[in-house]
């Protein structure tokens, strides 16, 4: 995206902000800045129960005592927290009249990903007259889920209609004291997703935010809470493979997962937010706290992520293995190109007996990007017979990028078995020649090799997601050759 395009987007964003400010009808915005008063107003606007406000305020007060962390292997200019508007939902994106007004580069990417015209319009904020198919699909889905007692709604809805569940589980995995961004999120989160799978129910379809139209624009402080009750199973898909241009620069989301006895959650993410231009201008700061608690015996939480977007990604989807025999898994592909920076990994905290964890991380760096894996495996004293296997591979494309691995081990039980394997490789010139010699262009050859390298992780993704992720990698790597 050229700088004139950037300023165009900024212009549009500013315009919208002004409207929100001066028009009486659009009272749905709060002025910039953060203080207790703003938080009270936000809570009132959302018609929240008392406990919610209290929790937000406690989080805010705690946040005030914290310092922005800088231990990650990323660099960025400081964020001015008083310069953000903390309530502008339902925020309208600048509505464009037709796709002609959309950045052609972005449309090109959509075309390559095979995204339908209607969907392109939805993603870029073009007004659509026809009712989406997906709306009716979503309704059908909802009826079916209701029948089974599955709750799947926006976080705001959950606060209104399922207070007891929210009260019981909110902050129980990621307390507001956890870290700077989690505290900030707890104080000001605007919306997000909530899912509850009742005892013994196997959710018959993949739950995806995509189908939950009403929370399409949950903004920069998103909150997700998923509870799988005893013996239940759910697979949850977050995000969408199309790049999203978003004027919010800082995204500080929190995701909490809870599995009770014999329950299982499979959480898959494909993140392809705007990474900034080739020189590193613009782009999203994606600072997310994702954590799951395997509370029950024999329960399992499995994170799969494909991270190709954002200027800076800073996230560690983690598992707290409390229940005996519980299992945590982390499968990750993180690709950085141009000036992108990613510091990502996981924490596997073994507390229960016979707990097992697997970490498969595939980092790919191209351009002038920096890609770090950071992972902690902690085995508590009482975690008898715990097992971990970690494999962290880095693939370098070119010689101006960097790959780093920071594995941390804390083993407090002598019976633990922990295995760590790490490799760093470059795409071989001989591999590219071999594929060229078969009639395959260098760009396509790199796509094939990189996708092959990520195979183990893609195998964990739901089918449609895997197909899109494959295309996405190739698109994200474009221009990284030669």
């Amino acid at each position: 995206m050229s700088s004139t395009e950037v300023s165009k987007i900024e212009e549009l964003a500013n315009k919208e902000y002004k409207y929100g400010f001066v028009t009486d009808i659009e009272t749905d915005s709060l002025p910039k800045g953060l203080n207790e008063d703003i938080i009270r107003q936000l809570s009132v606007k959302k018609n929240e129960p008392e406990f919610m406000l209290e929790w937000r305020l406690k989080a805010y007060r705690h946040w005030l005592t914290m310092k922005e962390p800088h231990w990650a292997n990323v660099q960025y200019s400081p964020v001015n927290y008083q310069d953000l508007s903390y309530y502008s939902a339902p925020k309208k994106k600048p509505t464009l009249k037709s796709l002609d007004e959309v950045d052609p580069e972005l449309l090109e990417v959509y075309k390559k990903l095979g995204i339908s015209l209607d969907e392109q319009k939805r993603l870029t904020g073009v007004a659509v007259d026809a009712v989406f198919d997906s709306v009716s699909v979503a309704t059908t889905f909802k009826d079916k889920l209701n029948e089974m007692g599955i709750i799947f709604c926006s976080f705001s809805d959950a606060v209104q209609n399922h207070q007891e569940l929210v009260k019981k589980y909110l902050g129980s995995v990621v307390p507001y004291t956890d870290n700077f961004y989690a505290a900030l999120n707890s104080a000001v989160f605007s919306d997000g997703s909530f899912a509850y799978i009742p005892k013994g129910v196997r959710c018959p379809m993949e739950l995806s935010t995509y189908f939950r139209i009403n929370a399409a624009n949950t903004g920069q402080f998103e909150r997700t809470l998923i509870v799988a009750d005893e013996g239940s199973y759910v697979s949850y898909l977050e995000g969408c493979t199309a790049p999203i241009r978003d004027e919010n620069q800082l995204h500080a989301a929190v995701v909490e997962l809870i599995t009770l006895d014999n329950a299982q959650i499979k959480y898959s993410t494909v993140q392809n937010w705007y990474p900034g231009d080739k020189e590193g201008k613009g782009g999203i700061y994606n600072f997310v706290t994702k954590r799951g608690a395997c509370r029950g015996v024999n329960s399992k939480i499995s994170w799969t992520q494909v991270e190709t977007g954002s200027a800076i990604t800073w996230k560690y989807p983690s598992c707290i293995l409390q229940g005996d025999n519980s299992i945590g898994e982390f499968y990750s592909v993180a690709l950085t190109n141009n000036r992108q920076q990613a510091d990502t990994g996981t924490k596997m905290i073994h507390l229960g007996k016979n707990t097992r964890s697997t970490i498969i991380s595939k980092g790919i760096s191209a351009g002038r990007s920096q890609n770090s894996y950071r992972g902690l495996v902690k085995i508590a004293k009482k975690a008898e017979n715990a097992r971990n296997f970690s494999q962290c591979d880095s693939l370098l494309l070119g010689d101006k990028c960097g790959a780093h691995t920071f594995p941390y081990l804390e083993i407090n039980n002598p019976g633990a078995k922990v295995e760590h394997e790490a490799t760093t490789s470059k795409i071989g010139e001989d591999q590219i020649f071999y594929l060229n010699q078969r009639g395959i262009s260098t760009e396509e050859a790199i796509g094939l090799i990189v996708n092959g390298y990520c195979k183990e992780v893609f195998a964990e993704l739901p089918m449609e997601f895997a197909v899109e992720a494959t295309k996405l990698l190739s698109v994200s790597l474009e221009g990284s050759v030669g």
């Binding site: 020649f433 071999y434 594929l435 060229n436 010699q437 078969r438 395959i440 094939l448 990520c454």
Partner: protein, 255 residues
């Protein structure tokens, strides 16, 4: 089909090919023999367009085009196929995936429709039979963990699927057991036609019992020092390379 004139080429400043002349017509099979390090693989790689090799003199015409001007992948799309002396492993990429991508790229280049999955599968089934390759190799990663002989057989399988006009086989026979050698030779023979040509790089006359060449050339120290018919291979087998070295070959022949 292929005409090489006074080709000089090298790598990192070392001249390896020192004036090669070779003409290959459609329908012909040429065998290139020669001692280790004489430049056989270098010639194959230069023709295929490997980066790093620099042509300092001479020209190569392929079906009326200047071959050296074409990008590596375009040479392949124009029908040049190299069966590698050391096939490369590509983890995570299945043989099928590679072949489907390659075949469709080649077809696109030629302005032909891409094959759909059914057409593609029936094509590879047919070609698999030709080289008696087991089904399980289709889903395995390209060459990864293949035995030496399996790699070579896989090269011929790929060749069968891609149906090149000019195939260059770099020591495809080394590492093959007797049965595999027959199978591979049989595959190559079945693919032979009046429209395509084959260059066989080999050390052993044995292969030439199965694939009978029209011409045999001896490459020594970057030059073709002797050319002849298939009987030349027998003579080499019998007398070794000494008699072609240092221009002594005439003497020997006159014995």
């Amino acid at each position: 089909m292929l005409e090489i004139k006074n080709l000089h080429a090298g790598i990192e400043g070392n001249e390896i090919l020192k004036g090669i002349d070779l003409k290959v017509n459609a329908g012909e099979v040429h065998a290139i023999m020669g001692p280790n390090g004489s430049g056989k693989s270098t010639l194959a790689q230069v023709l295929a367009g490997r980066e790093g090799y620099v042509v300092t003199e001479g020209e190569v015409t392929y079906n009326g085009k200047n071959l050296l001007d074409l990008a590596t992948e375009d040479r392949a799309r124009e029908g040049v196929f190299l069966a590698f002396q050391y096939p490369v492993e590509i983890p995570g990429v299945s043989n099928t995936n590679l072949l489907k991508t390659a075949l469709n790229e080649i077809r696109k280049y030629r302005g032909e429709e891409e094959l759909d999955t059914m057409e593609f599968l029936s094509l590879i089934k047919e070609k698999m039979k030709l080289v008696e390759l087991d089904q399980k190799f289709l889903s395995r990663s390209v060459n990864e963990g293949f035995s030496g002989g399996e790699k070579k057989r896989n090269e011929i399988f790929q060749m069968a699927v891609l149906q090149p006009k000019l195939a260059i086989l770099d020591e495809t026979d080394s590492g093959l057991d007797i049965d595999a050698l027959k199978i591979v030779a049989n595959g190559v023979n079945k693919l032979r036609s009046k429209d395509n040509a084959t260059i066989l790089v080999t050390h052993y006359q044995r292969l030439l019992n199965y694939i009978v060449p029209d011409f045999v050339h001896v490459l020594y120290n970057g030059k073709i020092v002797k050319s002849g018919g298939k009987e030349l291979a027998f003579k080499l087998e019998e007398l070794g390379y000494d008699w072609v070295k240092n221009g002594k070959s005439e003497e020997v022949v006159n014995h």
